[in-house]
Every structure is written in C-alpha cells, then in structure tokens.
Amino acid sequence: MGAERPAVADQGALFRRLRWRMFRNGLRVALQNGRVRLFTMLGTSAFVAAFTFAVSLYLFNELAANKIPFKGAIVEALFDLLFFTLGTMLIFSTGIILYASLFTSPEARFLLCSPARADHIFATKFQAAVAFSSWGFVILGVPIFVGYGLISGVPWYFYALLPLYLLGYVLLPGSVSAAGCLLLVRYMPRNRRQFFLLVGLAVTAGTLFWGYRIAVSFKNSVATNGRELEDLIGQFALLRSGAAPSHWMTRGVMAAARGDLAGALVPLAQVWSNGLLLFLVAAWVAKRVYRTAYDRLSAFGRAKKVYGTSPLDRLMGSLVWYLDRRTRVLVIKDFRTFRRDPTQWVVLALFGGLMLFGASNFRQYYAADLGIMDKHAISLTNLSGTAILLCAGLSRFVFPLISLEGRKFWILGLTPVSRDQILRGKFAFAATGSLLISEGLILVSDALLVVPWQGLLLHAVTVAVIALGLSALNVGLGAYLPNFRETDPSKIVVGFGGTVNMVVGLAFLVAVIGTMVVPFHVAQLAKGATGGAAHVNPWVYAGVPVGLVIGVLAVVLPLRAGAKSLRDMEF
C-alpha cells in the first residue's frame, strides 16, 4: 500500500500566483471601497518621506556649507550607524512577524496540513515578513540618501543603484532573523523562562557596557573639544569593520557618490551574494526544522500556574479611584493583561534603565565640570527620548486595544457598561500608566542632572501634556480607525490606522515640545554660550499656554471622534 507516489506541484510558481492574486484583489477592494484610506496611507507615507528628505537636505547642506573638517568621515560614520541600526531593527521586526506567521497563524496550520513543502511555506512567509517590516526602511532610507546625493552632486547611477542596495540589504538581517527564529524555536531549552532571563541579562549587560564606553568617550571628546573624537568613533569600530554588512553598504553608497562605479558594484555584489546565500541557508534550515519546530512549540505545554489577584491590580484600581466601579473593573482587566505579558513592559523597563544610567553618568561628568550647556542639551534629549518612547509604546500597546476586542466585543457589548465608559476606561488606563512612567523617568533623570527648578517644573508639565495627549490620541484613533480583521497587534500597528496614529502622534510631540520646552532650552544654551551674560527673556514661556491648548485639543477631539465611532459601530 502507498507505493504510488503522488504528483508534485511547482510550488514556487503556485505561491507566486497566490501572492499576486491576493495583492490584485486587495488593491481592487482598496480602490473600490477604501480609496480615502488608501490615499491617506500613501499620503502619510509621502509626508514622512518628504519630512525626512527636508531634514536630511538641510543637515547635509549645513555640513557642506560650514566646511566642517572630516565631514566625509562623519558622513561615513553616520551611514554606518544608520545601516547598523536599521539592520538591527529589521532583525527584531522580521523575527517577530515571522514567528507569528510561521507558528501561530491559521494559514501556517492550513499549509502544514497540505503537501506544501516547508521551505516553500517559509519562503512565502519570509517575503511577506520582510516586505512588512522593511517598508519603513525604504520610506526613511531613500529620502536620506537622495538628500545626500543632491547636496553632493552625485552621478546618476548613485540613484539607480540605491534601490538595489536597499533591497539587497534587507535580505541580510531578514535571513539571519528567520534562521535564528526557526533554530530558537526548534532547539530552545525546555526551561524557557530561565533561558530568556539569561539571554535578556546578557544582552542588557552588553548594551550597558557598550553604552558606558560610548559615554566615557563622549565625555572625553567633549572635555577636549573634539580632540579625542577618534576614541568615540573607535567605539563603533565593529560596525565599521570589513566584515560588517552595514559597512559594505556605506562603502558602496559612498563609492557611487564619488563616481567610482567599480568601487560601488563590488560591495553591491557582496551585499546581494551574502544576502541570497543567507536566504538559502535560512530556507534550508526551514526545510530541516520548520515542521519539527512547530511540533516542539505545540508540545511545550504550559506549566500549571494559578493566576490570582496581585497588589499591583489593587494599586491600579486605587489610582483610578475617580472612575465608577464598572469602569475600574475594565481598567484592571486591561492592566492585568498588560502585566502578564512581559513583551509589553520589558522594552519600557530597558529604556528607562538605560536613560537613568545615562543621566547618572552625566551627573558624575557634571561634577567633573561639564558645562551647563551639556546639561540642558542632555535633559532636552532625555525628554524627547521619553516622549518618543511613550509615542512608540502607546502606539504598540494601546492603539490596538479596541481592535483586539473586535471579535469578542459582544462580551463587552452585553455587559451593563456603555461604550463611552469602555473608551474612558482605556483612556484612564493608558493615561495613568503613561503619566507614572514618563513623570518618573523625567523627574529622576532631571534630578540626577541637577536641572534648575524652572526647567524641572516645565518638563513635568510638558510630559503630563504629552502623556495625556498621546493616551487620548491612541485610544481615540484606535476606536476611530479600528482593524477588527487582524488578530496580530504588530500588524494592526503597521496598518493604515496605526500609521496615521504614529504620524499624528509624532506631529503632536513636535508641536508640544517645540512650543513648550525648546525655547527655554535654546535660551539657556545661548546663556551658556555667552558665559551667562545673556538675559533669559520671560517670553520663552509664551509657548506654554499654546502647548496646553494643543494638549487639550489632543485629548478632546480624538476621544470625541472615537466615542462617536464606537457608539455607531455594529458588531
């Protein structure tokens, strides 16, 4: 029995046809039913690209106009860092998306039960994951290089080679991430908790050590007015070595910019050949381990754990004491979901730790006579960093909350809680957490930097406006632009609604920080530059009421629109 072997399909062509059909049908639906959404998404992407282009053009122009020494080396170092950072981000984002699509999606289960070959399933999912995670890379990367090209007067083939470089480069981190994801799932030790704890500790220790080295070099560089810049650049030696793909990219792009076509093509071939080789390795790994990894992941089982109430839940409840009891219950439900998922808070904890570590370091340098200018620059950077982190964190975790309720919304719908209360509860949850985290970070880091009390107060008020405004934007837009079809929150975030939310959030940050705190710090920097002689005009606070009005609008308008949308929604 079974001697007759079934026919085998050309699965590569089959999956290509499948992708093409889904793209074609999706585009048709978008053009027929969601033209406004489609064009808003394209417009938003174009806006981000144009903004990046304008900033890049300005900065490269400044670099060229001011005849800064070693500008070639500075640009090269910046490109190295840019490619390395984007590559690292691609490793994580592709890995997360691939994990979800290979191991938890219904499609993977469907295909694994069919005669589809493991490497073909992998290849099709890989392409989708890389495309999904690298669109930001293209939207941010291309304008920067076009800006550089225009200022530097590069030959035409610089622009022609650019897409080839970027497309080839995404294969490298994507393939590494894919192979890593598969091998991790396949060979992960049984004791996952300890394993991740150890890996997390090792990564944190490495990052802290590297951060410390950079901080020391930065301090020396500043203290010697740039004479020890080499030491600071030396901290990035690994990224600039001949073995680093980010440096191949930099070498190639710079060679193309110089008009050295042969010098540009060799690194391009290096990027593509290594990228394709790594993709083949990843596909081979998939062929060998994907099915067993899927089986192993399913067979891990879960240790029986009794979940009970925690003092943290009671604390959360008492922080939102002003809400009625039913809404408080909803807030505690959201908080419980948040705290039981470490992926939700570990990045926040890591960033907070790094920021306080940096602030405490600068405090020591301040004692060693670093100028008041540095203190203001660093505290403004801390505030901006916290605001951006809050924007990213809320976009990732709060914006999808309403969408994720989607298919089970009827449960909430049948409870004696109005939809307005549901929205208020989500806002209270987001605002409470954001306020606590951001105020805590800013006040402690400002205290460590010994920022004057006016600055400290200004930062506290600004951060409160940002936390409340961003919370309302995320909750309100989450209800106004929900995506009930998607169950993967990372895909909700990078979808249409998520992109609009992110762009609006960033614009809000620029507006609030620009009006409320930037004038104050610029005045302080000017005062520092003139040795304290300049008078700090009280008009530097004139932007504060403007920022407060922007904050009120950011709270009221999205929540009102979101509440109306939620009330009118049918499930």
Partner: protein, 249 residues
C-alpha cells in the same frame, strides 16, 4: 489507510495521547468520540502531519507521516473546526489554489471544481471574496476544497458546526457516499447521533486513552448493556473515570 501504532504524545508533562493503537481500513467511516481534552484533536493533528508522536508511529496510505510526510499529506484532506480561507481570494480561486497545490492536471481540476461548486451549492457566492462569507458559507467552501483533489482520507473535526439542517443532511449523505466509493472518513464529533447514524466503527477516547473501539454491537458488548450511543458513551467514560480515580490519589 490509517495505521497508528503505540502512539504517545506529551505536551510538556501532560499526556495528551497514551499508547494509542488504531487501524482504519480504506473505505471505512470512523467516528472518534471523547470529552473535551480527550486527545481527539491531537490525534487528528498527528494524522495530518501537523504534530509528531513523542513515541510510536503514524502512517497514512502506507507512508510514514514523519519520514514521508509530503506523500502522506497528499492523500489527506483536513477540515478543521475553525475553517481557514484566504480572505483576499474568491471561493473559486481558493478551490483552484487547492487543486494546484495537490498537483491536479488542469482539465481534471477544472471539471472537479465545477462539480464541488454544484455539490455544495457555492455558485451564488463562489466568485465573491471569502472575507464576505458567513460561517456556513465558509464551512461549505472548505469542504468543497477538501474534496476537490479527491483525497483518499478525509479528516473532519466537528464538520456540522455552523451548517443549517439541510446542509447537515446533505453532508451526511455525502460522507456515506464517499465511504462507499472507497474514501476513508475520520470524523471527530461531539454529536453522538451523527456518529451512531453514520459510522461503521466508533472509537471512544478519554484522557488520551482509547477506552473502546468497534461497531455499536461491539460497544454494547463492552458496556454489557443495550441502549443508544449516548448511554454507552456515558457508561464507558464513567467506568474509566472510576478506574482512574484511585491512581490519582
């Protein structure tokens, strides 16, 4: 067609299936019964090649599911309790994709697609995107896709969920007809009257162990009583629970 030998499947410390041995010949309609968490879906997933046994072996049509999985899966169709369809394909495109995936010759695929469209009354909506389908429409489309490539083994997990009475009646007739044509049907269900009405043999699984397996007559003999399948199922599972109780103390 199905040959399960001494299969045990562990989920961490939990035993999902314990030393299961089961043979289902070609053309038999076999119903797999058991309470929630009995191990039915795990067994089905091992038959489809989605999971592998911790110990023991599973083969379908003579192909070992682990070592010759591609060949084994080419013979199998699986209809899960939660049907999957590509949202941005039409029903017809999904049927075509399935036929292509199983390497059907184009002419044969075309004829078979038209046949299943008629069989499951899909013609009214088969050219709409599946994202617009109701649960019943999805279930019928998934069944059509499962049969389009003429499988040798059809595995269905709770196949009647979401279907209207007329569709259930038609499905029951179809399943019997397929078994008559030599297709092996492996049915997992909680609906005991469907199992009693349709199945040639019935297997009762509880806590990963096969408590009973055979025709209604065999099961009555094992339970040492007359009655319908519900009575027999209750008695067999309760007796097993009583036997297992002292061991867990």
């Amino acid at each position: 067609m199905i040959d399960i030998r001494n299969v045990t499947k562990l989920y961490g410390p939990k035993v999902a299936v314990q030393d299961l041995t089961l043979h289902v010949p070609a053309g038999e309609l076999f119903a797999f019964l058991g309470p929630n968490g009995a191990g039915k879906t795990t067994t089905i997933k091992m038959l489809c090649g989605l999971l592998f046994p911790t110990t023991g072996s599973v083969s379908v049509g003579g192909f070992d599911v682990r070592a010759q999985g591609d060949h084994a899966r080419a013979l199998v169709s699986y209809v899960p309790d939660q049907p999957f369809l590509y949202e941005k394909l039409t029903g017809r495109e999904f049927l075509q994709f399935t036929a292509d995936l199983y390497a059907m010759p184009p002419a044969r695929a075309g004829a078979k697609i038209e046949e299943v469209i008629e069989l499951f009354h899909l013609d009214e909506f088969v050219d709409d995107l599946t994202e617009c389908y109701s649960h019943g429409m999805r279930q019928r489309t998934v069944f059509a896709a499962a049969l389009v490539h003429e499988p040798k083994l059809l595995i269905a997990d709770e196949p009647t969920v979401g279907l209207d009475p007329k569709s259930i009646r038609e499905l029951k007739t179809l399943l019997r007809k397929l078994a008559g044509e030599g297709v092996t049907i492996f049915l997992s269900t909680h609906t005991l009257d469907i199992a009693q009405e349709l199945a040639d043999r019935i297997g009762i699984l509880d806590r990963g162990r096969l408590l009973g397996c055979g025709t209604m007559t065999d099961l009555r003999k094992q339970a040492n009583r007359d009655g319908n399948l519900e009575d027999l199922f209750m008695q067999i599972t309760e007796e097993a629970a009583v036997e297992a109780a002292p061991a867990t103390v």
